[in-house]
Symmetry: D2
């Protein structure tokens, strides 16, 4: 056991700190010997007046990510052991760990024509979001689900799943998971299944959409609430239409937008109306041309991907001009806003359910 | 105060009953004088071993209802005071009251071309279901909602609403409400609004559908659960497709039907996944040709309307051959089943939420 | 089938009513023949602008009730068939039915020395409240629970229970149940058990109190929420102390009373914090000398029993001076208040959970 | 940004790993330059087949802790800045951080006669548990709450609180908090209040106990559920009696113990019946002489303190003989059991609510 001995004794005592002395040094050695650390030397770091995340706001350019993923497609096999050809965004503030924020994982995944990502299941909650391309089916408990531009595909923990590229072209997409959180909390279980997906079928609609994809209708055989959404694909045509409808309603005088010209939907679990996954929230925002959002901040981290259009993002001290495919992270309690001259479609996910369920959610407008 | 004096004293005592005597007569007179009634003379009626509804199974033929509604269209105005040209199903067991069951109201409503049903609001929860016709818009808090064959239109308590026939033909539909229940419970509030609906607009989709009609998507401005569905129209195209999808999935080997060949959906509140209205449940069932449902019974009453096809209904001692538009009621704890040689589409509503929320729901298979 | 034919046609039409005519008479005969009743002739009764209960405010004097119960103790056996020597308060507005309100049953029950009330169970939720006396044990699923002055003893539906008078003196107490509601809703199941209670033990504390009677502590073997309280006795010593504590806290400057000098507790289900029974609410109120409550009204009925002290009650048009043991009912939406010159302890129960769970609860201050 | 470049390329590829090559090295350099880390080199650590906590089972002896706390009482002031004279258990597996597990903080706190710990509030949820001594009042939002042996005192996030030693002798106790979790999640807010507690009153019962300390009774002014318990002291007399009652009931034939001779209670929030704090669970277990618990494991960490008696603990590979005051931690998914020859009273807290609310809870019997 190698506990770091506080070294505050070598300098003058700060407020509320003991005077340096030989006796204090001896006491601190006693603490270390017994596996103890005092609060009074640690409190400034441990209990700040407001969240000071180790993570920092950061931007990853799609134009840089995609070629690296394509190159990985040449050099790196996908199969049992490595499991997925996924390359994670590593927040520069988090010491080289593949964590976009303390709790969140975001990665670009890449599958060559006719390739399979092997079947496995894990307690981590996951989703896929497609900024471009098509041709891959994710097969969840035997149900093949097509993935196409604009689709959001949640994948709740502990369901068997693999991916299969049915097409003649490679495809890349984004994975979001709670890997860092479950790793931190020691909650992780993982199990491997077959090396290849069990079906090569490519139906137009998945079974989950046939059962759950009808607004306000619930199969009589599935009446109990489930912790995660049973709907495995939220199709772009619905998301796009919902956003257009909000802006049309706003134009007709209905108050239904977050702020003028700013439409937004949350992906929800139809069995409860709550978040789509137990630990992850996902939303889609549309800014009409000329809109700038209010500056806000909230506990919890958020990861954004530009789906279409361009915008200017402010996050803490950073200002970025962003376009299609670009990804950026806003850590807990960092103020942010987005402005768009010509219109912007923005996908976002975060860890808000963790904060809300544990009564740790806070947000405010920030100047 | 005129309390009925028990007359059991004039005959021999039953089990657990006191012996007839002059003293007992005097005691009973004392009870009556003080506004008291003993349990022991009433218990057989009050506390039966299982529900014995005063309501009886009964069938109303659409072919008889519709002409009467049309005739009412000739003779009865619709306007402030009478409020609606609605004609209620009166269960023969309920003493001529306009109650299809102790808790439920079911009526045919009729609106002539260009007519308005005046605006009002009430605590009673309501819905409309359309078995045929179109042309009427129900206007809810200013939002015009078209009504067409197969549509289910919930109308939660205390929302302003009126109806307007925009077309050149009369239209009839079915109303379901909890009027008897709220009347019984002394829960009723009612308020009148304008004599005419405030808008004559006839949009293809209502505002409520624009906000809430996208599967699994929720407007960011409406995140709190609401006690009733904010979606004001459940369109036939969605219901029909959901049922077809279930039968297709069943044919492909997925277990997703109530029983083989019997598809069913429940209309739900997208903000909670629960019932569409606080006191009313509504579902749509489809029987493939040749299917006979299991015989079941449950606490609470159910009212059915045949939407399409034909079938043979057994309800208690009754057997009816039913077709399009026919309505029938199955009171609490009466066993029932339906069989269809050529296929049947069946709408049903009931008071199950009352029983479930108060922990009084029971059901079983009955021979 | 004998449906009453509307007779409005014989007089001039009211607002929104059709003109009397022979054709209208024929239409109404057609309605009656088909089991139909129009809304427009019924709406005034069915959908009033606010609740107009058939039940009326009424007072029953303990000094009149108790002698009748004692006399019943002489003349009426208690045993299988009659089940209980219970005499119900019959609201003068409810046609001689043993219903204190449309939903509620309130009765005085009487047990002679060494008598047993036979074991049965029923879906009706029940409680006992003891205004004076002791000596009876209610035995619930084999757990003997002593009944003493001031105790509140809930008895959730479908638990086996009987009563046994262990003492040499007769005892009377009050039963409250939802018999009228369950009878109305056709929800009633009833089953008989042994003629005599299975145990004659008389422990100081019941098993339920040993498991559940410790504030904020829950047995690790019972972690699931239950629809009704598992605590079978709420002892007077706790209720009394909770009320005294509130008044002491108020005197020390804490805002914790309903209004100055008016302390109150609600009996709760420790597994949820909610109402003690699925359909019934029960509370205990204490007015310090000189206090008059605000005048309020709410949907739902309330039945009060004076536990100690004296007061002046106003309920609608009625004014009563009440004392120990007196019972009175306030129907839905009737304004009421109580004033006490010398202090008053007041037990009350009602059907509020029905209204709250079905989103029908309303209340306001009324002048 | 210094991302660690994977070094797997220098050795032969493992299963599912790419072959080492110059091109692969270049790809990995490209990843590092863009702030990316591949999954396939990290998956073994990040996604193990079951939880492998960095934390280890560990024991701290009260006989070693207390003298160090007393010595800190001599050398370390308590006041603004350091805030508390608290000395935290530092898990040997967690790199010298003052974390007893990844999510949990456990510390011994020490207050000299007449000392004050200054008033502050923070989002961290906290509790105190007293294994010996008395004389300190914790003052929560102005309500002074005495602390005595056996008492459990929850302190939900964001309430003002300070401590005051009213007595002539020093006092030590245990603090449990979710400091590591909130630090990890970037959820922490902290605010300072007065340097000294606002009241020196020492009432026998706190206001919170006067309002909330009556089993099953709820003040009518506090009917909404609260995320944490409003009851600020769970007194030893209640805990002790609840455990004795369970063992007495078990002896009389009632199944109410975790296993034979093993009684246990959970500290609960009376407004919901759920856990006492949003992120922390706390329980008290009593083993009768001769009892050995089943060996179990679960996700989440647990920290135990022996309250009385002696026992033998097995936790993973460790075996410890423990006595009064000793503290030990069992990390996530480590199997453990306890045996006691002469009887054992054991306090325990953990992070189970985090796992349950996020649907990550698992447990099983382990051999």
């Amino acid at each position: 056991m190698t506990l770091s001995e506080p070294t505050a004794t070598t300098t003058a005592a700060g407020p509320g700190q003991p005077e340096p002395s030989a006796e204090l040094d001896e006491l601190y050695r006693g603490f270390a010997a017994e596996g103890l650390v005092p609060l009074w030397t640690e409190i400034g770091d441990l209990m700040p007046t407001e969240p000071r995340s180790g993570a920092v706001p950061h931007l990853w350019r799609w134009a840089h990510l995609l070629p690296l993923a394509e190159r990985a497609g040449d050099l790196v096999p996908v199969g049992r052991g490595g499991e997925r050809r996924a390359i994670a965004l590593a927040n520069p503030g988090l010491a080289g760990r593949p964590f976009v924020s303390p709790t969140l994982w975001a990665a670009i995944q890449y599958l060559n024509p006719r390739e399979d990502a092997p079947v496995h299941r894990h307690t981590q909650n996951a989703f896929r979001f497609v900024v471009e391309g098509e041709g891959v089916w994710t097969v969840v408990n035997g149900d093949p689900v097509a993935m196409r531009r604009g689709d959001f595909l949640p994948q709740a923990g502990w369901n068997w799943h693999g991916h299969h590229n049915q097409s003649a072209t490679a495809m890349a997409w984004i994975d979001g998971l709670d890997i860092p959180f479950q790793h931190y909390a020691d909650a992780t279980f993982f199990e491997t299944g077959p090396e290849h997906v069990e079906t090569q079928e490519a139906p137009a609609r998945s079974g989950s959409e046939q059962l759950w994809g009808h607004p306000g209708l619930r199969p009589l055989t599935h009446l109990a609430p489930s912790p995660a959404s049973p709907l495995l694909a939220y199709r772009w045509e619905h998301t796009d239409r919902a956003l257009s409808d909000q802006l049309a309603l706003e134009a007709a005088g209905t108050r239904c937008t977050v702020e003028p010209g700013h439409a937004a939907v949350r992906y929800c679990n139809p069995t409860t109306g709550g978040d789509v996954l137990p630990t992850l929230r996902a939303e889609f925002h549309r800014l009409a041309p000329g809109v700038r959002t209010a500056t806000t901040r909230s506990t919890g981290a958020q990861v954004f991907q530009v789906f279409d259009g361009t915008g200017e993002v402010h996050a803490g001290e950073h200002t970025w001009t962003v376009g299609r495919g670009d990804l950026f992270v806003v850590p807990s309690w960092v103020p942010w806003d987005v402005a768009s001259e010509h219109g912007l479609d923005l996908f976002v996910f975060g860890d808000a359910p963790i904060f809300e369920k544990l009564h740790l959610a806070r947000s405010d407008a920030a100047s």
